[in-house]
């Protein structure tokens, strides 16, 4: 496609999306519907090229009969389209959910539970850094106590949970403020696209 035409299409769609900020309107609605169709189609095509062809069609064409297993699991899933055959799809869903629960268990245990524990027991930093290390430890324990569900938030536990909430709020504020720059970067890039690539109002990079 002509690069200039591409720029004009992209600029038009960019403005369609920005118009959402004013309110819902036919341009946004057009962009939205185009986007949904195009992305669903793109995913279908990508999955056909990168999954079905190498893992199903090619092995079957080469006579690897083991590929009948995933074919069977896939086809019975399509049974969901009609209510009479819908029950049979449960078998492939059961297979799928088993796999991904099985992946989740050790990976969450390693990546979130043990990794955090191992970090939490690292030696305190020397000098004034020890104050920070102690604060991290206190924050960790109090926030953990906020997530302790078997006790009502009363007494010592209630106080600890309240301090935990303060730590959470400070963390949320920091995280919020920190993210602003990333989001503004994205906006700057779109405005640069409009002002430079499309309207040529600012000099090139």
């Amino acid at each position: 496609m002509n690069l200039d035409a591409q720029t004009w299409i992209a600029a038009f769609l960019t403005l369609c999306v920005f118009s959402f900020l004013y309110r819902d309107n036919p341009f946004y609605r057009f962009a939205e519907h185009l986007f949904v169709g195009a992305s669903a189609g793109y995913l279908l095509a990508v999955n056909y090229q990168n999954v079905l062809r190498p893992n199903l069609i090619r092995p079957l064409a080469q006579g690897h009969m083991i590929a009948l297993v995933p074919l069977f699991l896939g086809v019975i899933l399509l049974g969901r389209m009609w209510s009479r055959t819908s029950g049979i799809a449960r078998w492939s869903l059961a297979f799928y959910v088993g796999i991904y629960s099985g992946i989740a268990i050790p990976s969450y245990f390693q990546g979130q539970v043990f990794a955090q524990l191992a970090d939490a027991v690292k030696p305190f930093a020397p000098g004034w850094g020890a104050v920070n290390s102690a604060l991290v430890l206190i924050g960790f324990l109090t926030v953990l106590s906020y997530f302790y569900f078997s006790l009502p938030h009363r007494g010592v536990h209630g106080m600890s949970a309240r301090v935990g909430i303060w730590f959470l709020m400070v963390a949320f504020g920091a995280s919020f403020g920190y993210t602003v720059m990333a989001r503004v970067s994205l906006l700057i890039s779109r405005v640069q696209f409009l002002l430079r690539d499309w309207l040529h109002l600012i000099p090139g990079a």
Binding site: I165, S185, I188, V191
Partner: protein, 286 residues
Amino acid sequence: MNILRLDRRVIFVLIALATALPLLFPVNLPISVSPRVKAAYDTVDRLPAGSYVLVSLDYEPDIMAELQPMSIAVLRHCFRKGLKPVVLTLYPAAPGLIERALDVASKAEGKKRNEDFVFLGYKSGNQSVILGLGESIRTMFPTDFWGTPLEQIPMMRGHNSYADFPLVINLTGSSIADYYIRIAATRYRRPLVLGATAVMTSDYYPYLSSGQVQGLIGGMKGAAEYERQMGLFGDARRGMDAQSLVHVVIVLLVIVGNVALFLSGGMRGGASGGTGGGTGGGIRRP
């Protein structure tokens, strides 16, 4: 007057102006260079001319705002120092962006394709490609992006795995960075310079102190610092004026909102909004 219920479209207009005006009329506010970016710059700067650098640029258009200026700055730095970058990507939608970055950087520094740099293009498989680069680049990328067999590119002669590259650079907005740390930096013990989106950056501080990562460039701000260190005035530094202004506008809006709340007597809890978190468990809007 009810500032507390200001139409959000007024806020949107303010943000749009705060973004567009500094891009049209840059004032070039000074910025200071953080030690992490300085370390990244120095790592590249210290390499002798003629050294090969493996550059993996792994991001798609939706986050190019943060990483494209970074790519251009880092590539220009490599070219200026006479280094020879071998560039690749693990994202299917990235090659177009990288082609543009290479074009801008090589033209600015007067460098030529296949003599001063090679672009290998895209290869699917994330982690397995990063592993494969430790064995043989030619197996992973038989041809370059434009279809020339690597055998026919003189610059690639004798360079086929991590061992032949005294530096690996990875600029990414995803967990690809973890794989490079685990494989290139840890298993193959290559010096690694990392560039990441701002949101990701703080997650990688620990690798700096452990020495697995030599330098870390975070988001548009990091890219602007890199440009400043090189004496360039690129997209990132242009963007930083807009960043400053948008941040100030938001802070002022918040202050105005709170002053209005104070004047309306809402500070004592009279206004809607409830008691905030901490009582029942869930959190009401503070």
